[in-house]
Amino acid sequence: MEDTLRVALVGNPNSGKSSLFNALTGSQQKVGNYPGVTVERRAGRFEVPHGRLVKIVDLPGTYSLTPHSPDEVVTHDVLMGTSTLEHLLDVVVCVIDATNLRPHVRFALELKRLGLPIIIALNMMDLAARDGIELDPARLSEELGMPVIPTIAVRRTGIQELIDSFSTEAWSVLWKTFSVLPVTTGPGPSVRDLQKEARRIAAAVTVHEGVEHVLTRRMDAVVLNPFIGPLFLLSVLFLMFQAVFAWAEAPMAWIDSGIMALQRLSLEFLPAGLLQSLVVDGLLAGVGSVVIFLPQILILFAFILVLEASGYMARAAFLMDRIMTMAGLNGRAFIPLLSSFACAIPGIMAARTIDHPRDRLTTIMVAPLMTCAARLPVYTLIIAAFIPNTIVFAGVRLQGLVMFGLYIVGIVSALIVAGVLKKTLTKGAPPRLLMELPKYQVPRLRDLILGLLERARLFIRRAGTIILFSMIVLWGLASFPAPPPDATEPDIFYSAAGQIGRALEVVFAPIGFNWEISVALVPGMAAREVAVGALGTVYSLSGSEDAVASSLATVLQSAWSLPTALAFLAWYVFAPQCLSTLAVARRETNSWGWTAFMFGYLFALAYIAAGATYWTTKALM
């Protein structure tokens, strides 16, 4: 055997596989995608004493070797050695949950036919002890004919033993004791036979049965109660949103002032001209518009990770399933859609937890209808300028009511669009909800931090590169060609962006948009909130963002009619204007067709909504 050992980690979902992977590899891991499929690939490496290198891949969790979802197909093919996505394996580490032996043992028995050496990591020994379960690992090893190493991945217990078993010396001893069966082709033993055998082994290995985890049972009595449960879920969500918007405020302000300081420095030290403009308005503004959302997204992800690791996420899906089914969605679509209120990008990424492909697609398609944080600056500007802040009733002000209404319109349209899609394009058998509600666990800081770093990196890479790139392109469009010396209009009027915008006016005039709006929509493609800055540029305002926003409100009051302003608001409820969302949708659906469909239907809805708003308001005035 050469000096590199290729290892795959397999097991049922919720067996603690990921914690074991983290414990084995630490920060030496890479998370990416398998090409062509939207299945996450987690790979890492570690060194065994005396210099052997172990390359380990954490295969997607599966309950059996019969694949049901794209994730399980990857696991199946890699284990069978028919996949071109991974190298052939030298050994398989099968993670078994000590608190729930029987189904896990059945899976281990199923692996026997692979003809590969298999090591069992008998994980969660601490939880087993907590529940009073007593097992005989030696007997398990004897019955399975595989080496068994008891582990507690979250406390790194048994990890060294597992690593040591890969060393050259241990290796030869180990596989003298245990023989590897030859590959079995053709149909294996039936599921029922495997189950019978697993039942026998589990009974033989269990010294003491233990009692049901009392805490999980007591917590579920509250959390899954049909009346208290939804209230509890609501308070969790309230806390989450409070955190996303309130806690992120300070770090967002620091990032903002940091970027502005850098812009001031560049203005001071770079010679005025193209380079200065590129750095200040292109690069720095581009980086800034991405990084500014990072605090919100990290807080959101931290909540999602904690909810997932604690075992609550599956329960939220359980509680929401009935309501989500009414809209043709699945309980699991709830969290992705919720995340989309901060930003559609993490929402679309979170849709991966939906195992049914058509449901996942529907969820991705409607995610941009949830009012994301980037729309807020646009809403705030227009509402402040055009909606009187009168009290409607009992202290409720009209401005707040309009803002609330815009959120509701987004949600209702998402539900309608999802319902229509499910009846037409994503039609199919009603998807099933079949999932395990895992035991409650205290999330581990280590897993949380690793998960957070990984998602931050993904966000910056996916959203960052595309936003930065498009900001620079849009900067180019807005800067060239330069205005003639006798210019009477603002510079942007003469630029390529201005010309495109004015050409677009033909399209947008029927829904009440003037050329200024049409021009601002072009740079607004980078990110929705950029439209505010772009309007500032069009109306030749300068100064800090806040100053632009407040003086812009005054300018708009005289420049726009009320129907135009309201049409603009309606446009932004639906507008497909976010290149990064489209880029992520393209990645996650792996289809240009669906991405084009998303853009098309959002554009059509935005156009119709803005037009209807414009003409109705006009008729009423």
């Binding site: 309950y63 059996s64 019969t66 049901h68 979802s69 608190t99 729930n100 032996l101 029987r102 189904p103 599921v191 029922r192 189950q195 039942r199 999980t216 579920d220 899954l224 109660n225 049909p226 009346f227 449960g229 939804p230 599956a314 899906a317 359980f318 509680l319 399933d321 009935r322 309501i323 309980g331 058998a429 009603p430 099933r432 909800l433 079949l434 999932m435 395990e436 509600l437 895992p438």
Partner: protein, 98 residues
Amino acid sequence: MTSSQLITLDLLPHGLSARISKIGKGANAVENSEPDLEELLLGLGFEEGASVEIRHQGPLGGPLAVRVDGRLIALRPADAAAVLVKTAPSHPEPVLDA
């Protein structure tokens, strides 16, 4: 002696424990639906002889949370109908004095 009753899992009263006697196709079995319900249920531990008990139901007639041996599994009532269970007599028959 009370004979134990054979009913579908969705009709099992909450909190009453029973044993699985058969996994069928389900009430709303869909022809050619890719993942076979029976297979999925077997994978999650719904096997003949396993003890089951309905623990919770989601609001508005939502899914059931069923304890199957050591696991808590969420599934919709329509799919639970595919599982035939045998209830143990809930109260032991009063033994008449001999």
